[in-house]
Amino acid sequence: MSQDPTANFKQVNHSVTKVDARQLALGKPSYVADFAPADALVVKMLWSPHPHARIQSIDVSDAEKMPGVKAVLWHGNVPRIAHCTAGQGFPEPSPYDTFMFDTKVRFVGDRVAAVAAETEEQALAALARIKVKYEILQPVLSIDEAMADGAPVIHDEPEAHVPIPIPYEPKKNLVARVGCEAGDFEKGLKEADFAFDDTYETPYAQHCPIEPYVSLAQIDSAGRIVITTSTQVPFHCRRIVAQTLGIPVQKIRVIKPRIGGGFGSKQEILLEDIVAMFALRTGRPCFWQFTREENFRTGRTRHPIRVRIRAGVKKDGTITAIGMDCWNNTGAYGGHGLTVVSCCGSKVLPLYRCENIHFLGKVYYTNLPVGGAYRGFGATQAFFGMESTVDKMAEAIGMDPLKFRQLNHIKSGEGSPVFAALGEGKEGVPMTVGSCALGECIVKGAEAIGWKNRADWRRKSGRYRRGIGMAALMQGSSIPHIDMGGASIKINEDGSFNLLVGATDLGTGSDTVLAQIAAEELATTTDKMIVYSSDTDMTPFDVGAYASSTTYLSGEAARKAAADAKRQILHTGAEMLNLPEDQVVCKDAHVQSRDGQHKVSYSDIACYSLYSKNQYQIIGTASHITQKSPPPFAAHFAEIEVDTWTGNIKVLKYVSTIDCGTAVNPALCEGQTEGGTLNGISYALTEQYLFRNGRMTNASFTDYHIFSMRDKPPIQAIIVPSYEETGPFGAKSVSEICINGPAPVFGNAIYNATGARLNEFPFTPEKVLKAIQAVKR
């Protein structure tokens, strides 16, 4: 083993204090709502009460005359421009099927008309006076109904189209289709000693950031629109608002302050076009904050996906074929539909060595809530199916499921045909895996959970039965050749630096991580970094916070910008020391001669370069795109106790190992892992959307339960380091992967406890009890 490359790091791989932690813990004004001026108009929306209807008429005349009302927006008085609300690369791999307002409503919670008034009460009173006549249409309330011959057409508007050449057939409610084949899948199935064919269902869920969607638009003194918004994608936001309003990008500035959580939900432009339009119409600041109910109904959700896994295995443990068919219900609008289903294949299938692979993903509209980006992004749904079937394969050949995974998982230096075949709206990028510590993750996790004590379910009896389950996982780090991040960094008189990044910290800690990376490169300390992120007027471009990209992609941009600044610092430092440039180095915020005899501080270099001689601004700038998307790996384990009388599941212990390359900030990596894991646990055990005629009936934290401190089982996060040569100081990604584990881990643990195999979750007591009762011993 060569020397640990992280051994000499002074900033990276240290749990540096998060740069914004103090202001947030003190409750200082930091979030969008904290900046709404007292005279801001309050925006409220009239939402569709119907899952599918045509608006025959709207009369807003009474509403316009109500006290305090400054403007009303509806389809009759705004531009009709087809666009996509998903904040993705441009042109988007998603249909343009959305208008600011339309003559048709497609789900309960779709826009009908909006009011801006002096107070919330006045806005709500005005909404009640808007008269709407609907022609009720037959709703499509399941993906099976959407696929049926003669199904009602949800997007019958002529403008609906895709901006890039991908399959899109709105007349059949088909949003997208994507697939790939490698080897000979059918032949592989025939060669197997055991074949499997199972279909799994994954449910709707909401991200539930504690800060709901919120946006503020103001017209500045120069007449430009300044949008302060809780977004993961400020630059996409600017582009999409410009498109939707039919105005130039130049007229808009988007500022992202601190964000109260996103998890993918805020990778969507849901409020910004409305507050911007109202600001233009009224000249007043306009503020719109979703209620929690609106956050559930109208906010984006995790796509429910049906996953069929067909697989074959030989007695020696060789996997001869893996087939995955996915049916993705994208709800009323198609943003992220194709890309999420692509990731079902691309982030899951490569995990196991197999020559014969089949993948087909289909995406359909329904008149249900709209799917979007959600941490895990398709991999979460597909891993539930994949890892359940992997356990079944192991059992069929009489092999320990842990050993079966060790035998078959992808390893460093290996590739997968899936990497090249599946991209996002186009082909992927061929890739061999660089860093991979999955083997060690499995060993360490098994030890932490006590895997060796795991017993077959047939040997268990009594009311309470314990079970241990596991899953192996991967994800990606950025979207190669598509995502781009930019950074610039300049020096100040005291040797501090302004680090300007387009990357979007939504509570993840990326400002801190990027500051650590820049500080490491510059041989200074993280506390010398003043980080300013995500302001479209002030910072370089970045695609935003998604696809597990920020540390790997934007981090490398920050490192390169810092290296650029460092070259200039060395140049000026050498000039001041009267030494050749190749005789000086950067160390401890100084430029010094190689022997350390002569040195000059960054502060003196800054002052010299700004005031003394040959003046110039030391400023480094860089952009970065990635050539590959190195997967982080993880092995998750849990021990549970099933009450066979009630079906209740108690989680005794959960272990999340993570190989994220170099952990730039280990405490934050653990925090990401613990938080994502608990979100996954909550999703697997309790979270679900309940519907009556397409209307969610449990749109509150009272009825849609997310785990509290009392519910939380003990979660142990174990960082297992590797070194990814292509990432900044060896880093890859950490944020998404951890949410993929709990559903398959619990499914496997329930089986191990009781012999009951559940192909759908949440694993509510009713479902578990029914499955236990069906077990034949």
Binding site: S15, T17, K18, D20, A21, R22, Q23, L24, A25, L26, G27, K28, P29, S30, Y31, A33, D34, A38, E121, H207, C208, P209, I210, E211, P212, R258, I259, G260, G261, F263, Q289, T291, R292, L506, G507, T508, G509, N665, A667, L668, E670, G671, E674, G675, G676, T677, L678, N679, S700, F701, T702, I706, S708, M709, R710, K712, I715, A717
Partner: protein
């Protein structure tokens, strides 16, 4: 006796104040428009705890209370806890322990912990969970918040500090 039905008077962070209000105005709305932005709107239904403040040393949801219900009471918000130079003991542990991710829930968490420390003298895990159950966090999985809180409570317990709670300005 209240003279003007459209005002409310209460002690806010140690200072007696009078505010104009309306009968239907929530305490959360009043606090926020008066500049106390550390108290957050997360659900408006008393289910997430982001708006938690202390009323006579008990944790309450400011989104459920009408402003007028604060008449004559002692209200404390996160703005009364710690400063940049001298954060409270709990704030310091949260900051150092990496427990602040998006931070939106943190002021509410701190206020619930204040209520706990004011009311209780021993801090069994079950009691702590009971007090903190009303504050939801979606980022952290609570592990690091729990660890930070536990550290402070353990120190208080072993120091035998009773009912003072006010860990806001530790002497150390």
């Amino acid at each position: 006796m209240k003279q003007n039905p459209n005002t409310v008077s209460f002690t806010l962070n140690g200072e007696l104040k009078t505010f104009a209000t309306e009968p239907n105005e929530k305490l959360l709305a009043l606090l926020r428009r008066e500049g106390y932005k550390g108290t957050k709107y997360g659900c408006g239904q008393g289910t997430c705890g982001a708006c938690t403040v202390l009323m006579d040393d008990r944790a309450v949801y400011a989104c459920l209370l009408y402003a007028m219900q604060a008449e004559g009471r002692d209200i404390r918000t996160i703005e009364s806890i710690g400063t940049f130079d001298k954060p409270s003991e709990l704030q310091q542990e949260l900051i150092q322990g990496g427990a602040v991710q998006c931070g939106f829930c943190i002021p509410g968490m701190i206020m619930s912990a204040e209520a706990l420390m004011k009311a209780e003298t021993t801090f069994d895990d079950d009691i702590v969970r009971e007090y903190m159950d009303g504050n939801l966090c979606r980022c952290t999985g609570y592990e690091k918040i729990w660890a930070a809180l536990r550290k402070v409570l353990d120190r208080q317990e072993s120091a035998g500090v009773q009912g003072s709670g006010a860990s806001s300005h530790p002497e150390s």
